[in-house]
Amino acid sequence: MATETTSAKVKWGLLDAIVVVFALIPVLWIVSLSFKTTATLTDGNFIPREWTWDNYKLIFQTDQFVRALINSIGIALISTVIAVVLGTMAAYAISRLDFPGKKALVGVSLLIAMFPQVSLVSPLFNIERQLGLFDTWPGLILPYITFALPLAIYTLSAFFKQIPWDLEKAAKMDGATQGEAFRKVIAPLAAPGVFTTAILVFIFCWNDFLFAISLTSTEQSRTVPVALSFFTGASQFEDPTGAISAAAVTITIPIILFVLFFQRRIVAGLTSGAVKG
């Protein structure tokens, strides 16, 4: 029996290793590129022969990247906050209250989750130009909220359904006011779900490329993924490979941190919404 478990462990260990290597190789590769010197950039070696911080120094000195980074962070954060607040309200209603139109709302969210975003690009482009929203932060925040809301509503409803709401009543019977019951009992129980949803929504907004490239035209509101694609061939950089890699690594850092610290929550968030929605 003991040998059987050992061999099973070896087998799983091997499978684990395959997954880990497969998942990490592209990330390690772009990290490696970002640390290569201009001279060794094209040597095709997976591990840099000479290490340098030059690429990072370069991009943080250019307005093009720094401005885009500020845009990315600002737009993603604002969209996340608004989507999570609106999503929390709707999810609370869906999981706790009985009212006509509830099914319709869930249906609409599902439709929007499957909506082909490119279908909105042409009309939004024109509408935003007329409203003066084109190439502004709100011009991107609006579609981000829209497409993040289904995700937020699903994930949050799934979380809220697990909260033992009777505790609220119990607290009130014990003499707590409505406000206290909410603040001391419900809020701490709901917070992890809200937080997880915020991470998922942030990842979604951080990731977007299609809206960002279609609805912006200048540094004023261009986000990093778009700025990256414009590095190519820009005369500022002789060979943009190193700079692009460094910028790419920079915007990957928050994702890595989220994944490292909140793996359990992200998995719970993604799986709970999928089945019970």
Binding site: V20, A23, F209, P225, T252, V275
Partner: protein, 315 residues
Amino acid sequence: MSVATRPSVDSQPSRRSRPALSEGKKQERKLGWLLCAPAAIVMVAVTAYPIIYSIWLSLQRYDLKFPDDREFIGLANYATVLSNNYWWTAFGVTMLITVISVTVELVLGMGLALIMHRTLIGRGLVRTSALIPYGIVTVVAAFSWRYAWTPGTGYLANLFSPEGAPLTERASALAIIIFAEIWKTTPFMALLLMAGLALVPDDLLKAASMDGASWWQRFTKVMLPVMKPAILVALLFRTLDAFRIFDNIYVLSAGANETSSVSMIAYNNLMKGLNLGIGSTMSVLIFLTVAIIAFIFVKLFGTAAPGSSDEDGRR
């Protein structure tokens, strides 16, 4: 489509309500609508209105380079697009990418889900690593693959095709695009499938293995039936998601050598061609295609019983 988006702001709640709702019930309804209204309004305003507007635009000749020529031309734009080779090539490419990537992802995702669910050691490590492709910005991953496959810079290009440039040939470029797509989205598929795996009762598996069922039998006879709903959800989401592929193609091949997807050419029409009429026509066509795919999925695999075959002729 309009049927689907309208009911969210249900304005006739009391039409068939039972007489005399209690005061508390009324309050509950009011609160429910109040809480849902902002989300519903934003979602409908940013999707339903533009899609209706784009139907309107698609019926016009509207080129931003010649704004004075704007004119109502009926379905002429649809005729132009649908008789155009570029459109059908892009459509074929998109379908090919969708079918291959989703099929491979289903198999790999199932494997990954099993590993994440059942591994004896390093479960946290595997799950954390698997989340990285899911979380990473698509454009970043695409650049990593692009450099890996560019002759000179890349380790993969040097390894597999020392004298060619894989991203400049149609077949190999498409293969790389599909590969990048699979790498990026398999974890998402796996997570959805894992949610289904968690529903499989352990007792049932034990009982089956007691009865002498092989691993494969347990998988096909016990696990798959329980997981069916999760598999369908995962397939539906990934199919529609793969169909709108844009980022990977934009970075990897820029649509050169006939590797454009429908999203790519719709974007190019708008941004490079500045042709709102044609661009909107493509938007509407893509929207319809996605609606049809979703419809087929729901009809084929959904809860709907057979007997609704009369709907098939609808295009």
